[in-house]
């Protein structure tokens, strides 16, 4: 999957940008605050229809403007396609190959992109909810039933918690327990299955970025008391969960919320048996974060048969020692990639066009001789 051209209007500080894009991608070079990350954000937005900054789409409208527009031409499975999204305060319009799309979910993932950002460190050192979101996004991108299961589970959970708080729910509690389990079981099973699929890949990827085989590993730690093998069997999860709901009833009632279920799952990330969330060094945590994102790219490719575009935001200045160079070397030219960097490092720009970004303008020098 490769972008061939990009047009941006009023997207943050990128007021008017039109670019032809080389098949291998580009390095965006410029000082901070010039618009490098905004360019990556725009591509990410076309892929997921939301910002990786977690902000509402209206916030991405350039200061003083009424709307933004992102448009891209790209090739996918040998086809030339276009995808455009424009948004103002009121609404958002998505055009795929010139035809309007009703719901974003119908076009999400048409353009596949994976972002690697300094903020990904949060995935490893932040709260368990950051890691649950990561897992949910991986599963949700490929599966609409999973997204619906999450929404349903969330609704049942809120109902059950309200029942616990109101303190007069004994008569209907069993019905809500059964609903909770029915809507939550597919989530537990999907997560267990995904993490099992990813575990080896993660160990391999992290070892390669770190250039040491130091036992990086991930494990699914479900809140429902089952081991990770049983977590993939519906009857085991159901049984363990309903027993736990009974056991924890007094605790739940006193606290006024449900203490066992996938909303409290953990994706554990360890190195040599130590949990990185609490005991990891900066370098180790960065390595793990990069590995999680690369895994996201591999998984999307495995599930769709299309190779995602990589958006690498200032990743190389964050990785110590030779990790950055090894990462880039390993990526090779399999993916089209867009890399931001404050300085035009020789090893970074090797084989990639260098675009200068300054005050919302992106300049592409004449293409260098092929090499």
């Amino acid at each position: 999957m490769r972008l061939t051209e990009v047009r941006l209007e009023q997207f943050r500080n990128l007021v008017d940008v039109g670019l032809e894009v080389p098949p291998e991608g580009a390095v965006l070079v410029g000082s901070n605050g010039q618009g490098k990350t905004n360019f990556l954000e725009a591509i990410h937005y076309l892929s997921r229809f939301r910002s990786f900054r977690g902000s509402a789409h209206v916030d991405a409208v350039a200061f003083g403007a009424g709307h933004f527009r992102i448009e891209a031409g790209f090739t996918s499975d040998g086809r030339s396609r276009t995808l455009a999204v424009s948004a103002d305060r009121e609404r958002r319009r998505i055009l795929l190959d010139g035809a309007p799309i009703g719901r974003p979910s119908e076009a999400a993932g048409t353009l596949l992109a994976v972002s690697l950002r300094p903020e990904d460190l949060e995935l490893v050192t932040g709260s368990p909810s950051a890691r649950r979101e990561y897992v949910d996004e991986l599963l949700g991108l490929a599966s609409r039933p999973y997204r619906r299961a999450l929404a349903e589970y969330d609704r049942v959970l809120r109902q059950r918690n309200e029942l616990l708080r109101s303190g007069r729910g004994a008569a209907q509690l069993e019905a809500w327990d059964e609903s909770l389990i029915s809507s939550g079981v597919p989530i537990v099973i999907s997560r267990a299955h995904l993490v099992r699929r990813l575990a080896d890949r993660f160990a391999r990827t992290a070892a390669r970025v770190a250039a040491e085989d130091d036992g990086y590993a991930i494990a699914y730690r479900p809140s429902v008391p089952v081991d990770s093998a049983a977590a993939e069997r519906e009857s085991d999860v159901r049984e363990a969960w309903s027993r736990a709901l009974v056991d924890r009833y007094e605790v739940d009632r006193v606290r006024g919320w449900t203490t066992v279920g996938p909303h409290r799952d953990e994706l554990e990330i360890v190195k040599g048996g130590r949990g990185l969330e609490r005991f990891g060094s900066q370098g180790e945590c960065r390595t793990a974060a990069v590995a999680l994102r690369l895994m996201e790219a591999e998984l999307l490719e495995a599930d769709t048969g299309r190779r995602p575009i990589l958006l690498l935001d200032d990743v190389f200045s964050e990785l110590d020692g030779g990790r950055g160079e090894r990462l880039l070397e390993w990526l090779g030219d399999r993916h089209q990639r867009f890399v931001t960097s404050p300085r035009p490092l020789a090893w970074l720009t090797d084989g990639l066009a260098a675009w200068r970004v300054s005050a919302g303008r992106i300049e592409c020098p004449a293409p260098a001789a092929a090499g």
Binding site: S143, R144, P145, R148, E152, R155, V156, R158, Q159, R160, E162, L163, S166, R168, G169, A171, Q172, E174, A175, W176, E178, S179, S182, S183
Partner: protein, 196 residues
């Protein structure tokens, strides 16, 4: 704005699905209508309140103490179809596929809205089953989170009474082509398949 106009807008905007904008459009429309047309409308509203009540047996709307479905001797007394609202009966009747009796809950379980079983027409349902002659109770609550929980609650509540309890199927609409259905609907239809 004149007091009377403001008051009507206020009253109309309390109706479900009607916001202030629509309410004021309706108000100004009514303002332009002849007096008898407005009077017909206000009469019709009062008639509904005065003449219509809820069936003592099933909770459906009725002119009198019993609704037309409970009075109809040709309907099968051994099957009761449980719905959330009287309007759901209308939908099932239009399908023409059901000739039994009904039972209206007047809502569904929703702790977030403060609705528990005591607020629903449940005791009367158990009473009807206990009186005998009922072989099957079909739970036709909506296939959403609250409707499912309500169905699960009723299944448990009816279990000791030894009556057969069934749930309406979810799946592929007639005339629907598999190609155009979303994977959730298809998945549910597969899970709910039956022997041919």
């Amino acid at each position: 704005m004149a007091g009377a106009v403001e008051q009507l807008i206020e009253e109309l905007s309390r109706l479900p699905g009607i916001g202030r904008k629509t309410a004021s459009r309706l108000t100004f429309y009514l303002l332009k209508q002849p007096r008898e047309s407005a009077s017909r409308l206000s009469d019709a509203i009062l008639q509904v309140k005065d003449r219509i009540s809820f069936c003592e047996t099933c909770g459906n709307i009725a002119e009198g103490r019993t609704c037309t479905y409970c009075l109809d001797p040709r309907r099968d007394e051994s099957v009761i179809c449980v719905v959330e609202e009287p309007s759901d009966i209308h939908v099932i009747e239009k399908s023409g596929g059901f000739r039994g009796r009904y039972h209206v809950l007047h809502g569904r379980l929703s702790p977030l809205d403060g609705v528990g079983p005591e607020a629903l027409n449940v005791d009367r349902l158990a009473e009807r089953v206990r009186q005998g002659g009922v072989e099957e109770v079909i739970l036709a609550t909506n296939p959403d989170v609250e409707g499912e929980a309500t169905a699960l609650y009723l299944r448990r509540a009816l279990a000791p009474l030894g009556v057969r309890v069934t749930r309406i199927a979810r799946g592929i609409p007639m005339g629907g082509s598999l190609e155009f259905l979303d994977e959730i609907t298809v998945g549910e239809a597969l899970a709910g398949r039956r022997e041919l």
